[in-house]
């Protein structure tokens, strides 16, 4: 199990409606793309689960959508602040794919920049609800973009090994189109290491803990 460590905030940069939180990496292993970290949310009881967005030398960077009090507190961090960081946790994407295609929707693009780097920048298609949100596509240069009402699934060409992260309806649509796709799911999580049983989702007809079995699962 990884160690939980306090790390310093290097920067919190706006990216459209999101914030890219850059932390001093220290000795923390950035892990496999699609794995996640539990980040202490200042003033909140529970940490927040966030997949790693980028791992430049000496840094861990997380793309955060301030949708609630915890993510908002993380977005308000300032350089020099410190937070507890616990990870990497869970199972990331398998990288042994022949013709990778990255598919992302909204804040679900978060793990894709780090994944793109590991896969030597394969093609990517991204969906956003507005031009403002689509500014985050700058994190994945060269990606094709769909903006609501166009759906990202309309941009998926045939014959690729799809690796996807996004809202649940998008993942269901991707699964229907691309059997065998690797999908990164999301669920409320209190602990991130199998203790709380809060993140149970149905996998192969059984409820299992997404933090232990996922968050990346293969579409069946």
């Amino acid at each position: 199990m990884p160690r939980r460590e306090r790390r310093s905030v290097l920067a919190a940069e706006p990216v459209g409606p999101y914030v890219l939180l850059r932390l001093d990496r220290g000795e923390i292993d950035p892990g496999v793309p699609g794995q996640f970290f539990m980040l202490e949310a200042p003033g909140r009881l529970l940490p927040r689960a966030l997949s790693l967005c980028l791992a430049p030398p000496g840094e861990l960077a997380f793309l955060i959508d301030p949708v609630g009090p915890g993510t908002a507190a993380l977005c308000e961090l300032e350089p020099g602040d410190t937070i507890a960081v616990f990870g990497p946790l869970g199972n990331g994407f398998r990288l042994d794919v022949d013709r990778p295609l990255l598919v992302g929707g909204g804040i679900g693009i978060a793990p894709l920049p780090y994944l793109a780097e590991a896969l030597r920048f394969p093609p990517a298609v991204l969906g956003f609800r507005s031009e403002h949100h689509a500014q985050a596509a700058a994190l994945l240069p060269g990606a094709e973009i769909a903006i609501d009402p166009t759906l990202v699934t309309e941009l998926i060409p045939e014959g690729h090994d799809v690796l996807a992260c996004g809202p649940e309806p998008m993942l269901h649509a991707v699964r229907a189109l691309c059997p065998g796709a690797q999908l990164a799911w999301e669920a409320p999580m209190a602990c991130g290491y199998g203790a709380c049983y809060g993140c149970a989702v149905e996998i192969d007809g059984e409820l299992k803990r997404l933090c232990v079995e996922g968050p990346v699962l293969r579409a069946a």
């Binding site: 199990m1 939980r4 539990m38 202490e40 909140r44 009881l45 529970l46 940490p47 915890g70 507890a84 616990f86 669920a187 409320p188 999580m189 209190a190 602990c191 290491y193 199998g194 203790a195 709380c196 049983y197 809060g198 993140c199 149970a200 989702v201 059984e206 409820l207 232990v212």
Partner: protein
């Protein structure tokens, strides 16, 4: 002795954390497998959290054949939490267990329908089914938890676990619908500590049973206060979710907090809140 609260740690996925405790308490085992409640099952509140996991567990048979042998390999004293939907469910599980440190009877889960029998009736049939130490886990939602404690003591319980979570609800601010799929869940975390202190205080005064105190323990000071109310042992719950290093940290803080008050043996503090001696903070420091 420092334990985990049932349902707040999986020793098989986090063995190194379980080994830092003086005993590992399992998630509640029921006779048949249970998937638990639908998602969402957890929600953060102002100073706590709600959970409505719903006693998800592999069932008694699979627990005994697959999980228990692996838990024994950890070489940590095992406390088995047992649940059910009638007294016989509890008794059958008690009878099936041997060579474990203790059995904790979960008589107070707020996320499932309760057994028809009273806590004391369940303890009575379990007492007849096992010679292992039986700890009754009670809820502070009962208007007179001390009376329940006396009743389970008379029925043959060897100890008390206090407290379980309290039923609560959280609404989504945008939809005004309950966040949890079940609607309600068990409230835990720092918000529960004063409730736990009061319950431990009342039950310590009402019975001579050893008490495992739990509810909102986040720091060593919290643990010390539970001990002062009468807890002989302390269990960590929600704090394990945010801080997997809590066992060592709380233990260190507890020792330092006791030392700062001139306490030599933690046992001397047990029940201290009941005695009208001069306050500890002006007691002379004991020379090292």
């Amino acid at each position: 002795m420092l334990l985990n609260a049932s349902g707040c740690l999986d020793a098989l996925t986090a063995p190194e954390i379980a080994r830092r405790l003086d005993g590992f308490v399992t998630k509640t085992i029921t006779p048949l497998p249970r998937e638990g409640n639908a998602a969402p099952r957890i929600a953060e509140t102002a100073h706590g959290m709600l959970n409505a996991i719903g006693l998800a567990n592999p069932g008694r048979e699979r627990f005994l054949s697959e999980h228990l042998p692996r838990l024994r390999e950890l070489d940590v004293p095992l406390w088995i939490s047992v649940g059910g939907f009638c007294a016989q469910d509890y008794a059958d599980s008690c009878a099936a267990l041997e060579d474990v440190e203790a059995i904790e009877l979960n008589l107070s889960c707020p996320n499932v329908d309760e057994a028809a029998e009273s806590a004391a009736e369940i303890v009575t049939v379990c007492r007849a089914a096992t010679t292992l130490p039986l700890y009754a886990k009670l809820s502070a939602a009962h208007p007179d938890v001390a009376a329940v404690a006396r009743a389970v003591a008379d029925a043959g319980a060897d100890g008390l676990s206090l407290v379980n979570t309290l039923r609560g609800m959280s609404l989504d601010p945008k939809t005004l619908a309950p966040v949890l799929a079940r609607g309600t869940g068990g409230l835990s975390g720092p918000t529960l500590k004063p409730v736990a202190l009061a319950a431990v205080h009342a039950c310590f005064a009402a019975t001579a049973l050893p008490i495992v105190g739990m509810g909102g323990v986040t720091t060593g000071q919290d643990a010390l206060e539970l001990i002062a109310c009468g807890a002989r042992h302390v269990a960590l719950g929600t704090v394990l979710f945010s801080d997997p290093d809590a066992p060592e940290r709380v233990r260190d803080e507890l020792n330092r907090a006791a030392e700062a008050l001139g306490v030599v043996h933690l046992g001397d503090v047990c029940g201290r809140a009941h005695r009208s001696e001069k306050p500890l903070d002006i007691a002379p420091k004991v020379a090292a």
